[in-house]
Symmetry: C2
Subunit: 358 residues, 2 copies
């Protein structure tokens, strides 16, 4: 057990924006909300997965929607707790600990809000070890756990309780709610025991995000060394360095979708990289050839400052470093690839090859 103070949550927000593969929400927004939460309610308790009691009642606290919307429709801060209360009322009991769904500038911070307000511990893990666009794309699904019942809340106090036995159906119903509620909402879901959380989660996500975030902070004064250390820490592969030539973007069906095209700089001069996204970057093709696909991570950094660039912040003229990061090993199994491999995103003809072997 350790406590997360202001510095830790700021680092987590920044590091999670790298691990989010372009999604997971705006890290600046995450930082502001996290700082305010810890300043108001004090440091947040973080338990390693091994420290949670078997019988503890654990729930996932997450935002759902299009990151593009989040930037304009800033959360009120109380909706994560409202969603949790809806779930608790349905279950008839209170939860003992919270988990994030994914690594993300906003989604890593989301469970901190109800945790800080309630004095509940967070668990150091998540359901992805990265970010994915859809609710069922979590390791808990791979292990057969139900997302529902799901508590839903928006910033105006409107709530929903959703129940279904099919996690993909749960995604469809929550996405419908997201659209009806303005594009971004809070959920409380995947109720499970401490034993299940320990066995079925990706371990150490907060600690990893914090380390990466600390290295990004170090990059402000020592960019080159910080880059090398981040690449080494993550086992990452440099895919491209280039200037954004075009971003085709649409916010539709509760997702931010599109494609970004980069023209090569330096060693990549003459080449073109195309990155397709559905909230997250899912496919990078260099001169038409796939160089990294989901479930591996594709991260974008500002080439000068190493600031992570999320999908909604990519714009014409950005000079970006694009790197591929091996995903958590859970995703490289047949069951994991069925949930979040290239075919799950419609790239039926693209076989999955680990990014470090391409």
């Amino acid at each position: 057990m350790r406590k997360l103070g202001v510095q830790a949550v700021e680092d987590i927000a920044r590091g999670a924006a790298v691990m989010a593969s372009g999604g997971g929400g705006d890290p600046y927004l995450g930082m502001v909300v996290a700082r305010q939460t810890v300043e108001e309610f004090g440091p947040i308790e973080l338990l390693e997965l091994g420290e949670v009691p078997d019988g503890a009642r654990v729930a996932v606290s997450m935002g759902l929607g299009a990151p593009t919307v989040l930037v304009e429709k800033v959360p009120r801060g109380t909706e994560p707790e409202f969603a949790l209360e809806v779930l608790e009322n349905a279950c008839g009991y209170r939860f003992d600990a919270l988990l994030p769904s994914e690594a993300g500038g906003w989604n890593s911070l989301h469970p901190m809000l109800p945790a800080a307000r309630r004095g509940l511990p967070l668990l150091d893990g998540d359901g992805m070890g990265r970010a994915f666009p859809e609710l069922q794309m979590v390791t808990w699904s791979v292990f057969g756990q139900s997302a529902a019942p799901i508590g839903v809340a928006d910033e105006r106090g409107n709530t929903m309780l959703i129940d279904t036995r099919d996690n993909k159906r749960a995604e469809d119903l929550c996405r419908g709610a997201t659209v009806a509620m303005g594009g971004n909402i809070s959920l409380a879901c995947y109720g499970m025991t401490g034993a299940q959380a320990r066995t079925h989660s990706v371990a150490g996500t907060y600690t990893l995000c914090e380390e990466v975030g600390a290295l990004l902070r170090y990059a402000r004064t020592n960019r080159v060394d910080a880059y090398d250390r981040i690449m080494e820490r993550l086992g990452a592969v440099e895919l491209f360095c280039g200037k954004v030539r075009d971003v085709e973007r649409r916010t539709e069906g509760g997702f931010a979708r599109g494609i970004a095209t980069l023209e090569g700089l330096d060693a990549y001069r003459g080449s073109v990289l195309a990155m397709e996204f559905q909230n997250e970057f899912l496919m990078a093709r260099r001169d038409g050839v796939p160089v990294c696909t989901a479930p591996d991570l594709i991260a974008a950094f500002d080439a000068e400052t190493l600031t992570p660039i999320t999908g909604e912040a990519l714009k014409y003229g950005c000079r970006a470093l694009i790197v591929g990061i091996p995903c958590a090993p859970q995703w490289r199994t047949a069951e994991g690839l069925a949930v979040a491999g290239p075919a799950a995103f419609g790239y039926a003809g693209v076989p999955y090859v680990p990014v470090e072997q391409r």
Copy 2:
């Protein structure tokens, strides 16, 4: 109190298709479901609004979605009861009586399913005295009652509980659920006391639909006399007789929307009637001039057989009689027109003039 047997529910389904102003769902489907329900569970008890005890717990049982979808995605029959159970679990008590939301070939029958299965009485009234496309367009809204909490269920057993204090917001959230659940779902909502149901509902809707349905049955052998008697019973105005030249139809956002154009026959030769619909017929223009608008009813009958024609059944070549029917007096107040007058459907420039005065 009286009992509704097979003949009564068949007549109600047929008569309600007239009172539904083109919406409210397919009357054939309604008849089949109603007949089966009464055959299986026995006659259904119908109470006049004056007979319900003040403190009785009353809920509205209704379908929501696009009638076009209903024809292909036939209800399973258990979803109205599932929706009621979701609402009951949230409220912590069981309901004593059920009300339909509106007159409609399917929506008049919808509450019969849980009523018959549970042995609950129905009340002889509704929230419209006709059909309207949206959840908040009911007399109960006019009197300030909350639609939520709302139990929602689809035919696969997926459920939702929706809570919001704003009835238009409730419509938006339920419509989102409708789209996510395949275009047509069951709700249980507008929980109220017997006293509220008595004061705030349109009275006698089932009895009126049954009378009109019996006249339509009589029309099989005596078309001309039946037509005169229906027009007299409803205080209706003949608007047009013509052949459908075109129906522009799209099922979008959980509604069936479009416009039907008819070429005049007989006394109307040389004229054109355009009927715009959003599930229900909302505006009829003869040669460009409004002749009937919501909240008054626009009903279409097959010109030969007097069979009512709902919006989804209108097609090229139909010979149809179009009549205007004065709405329930609740809709002609300032509060009623604010909820369901021409401006509520986007016809801001068209003042409401009672159909019998046009």
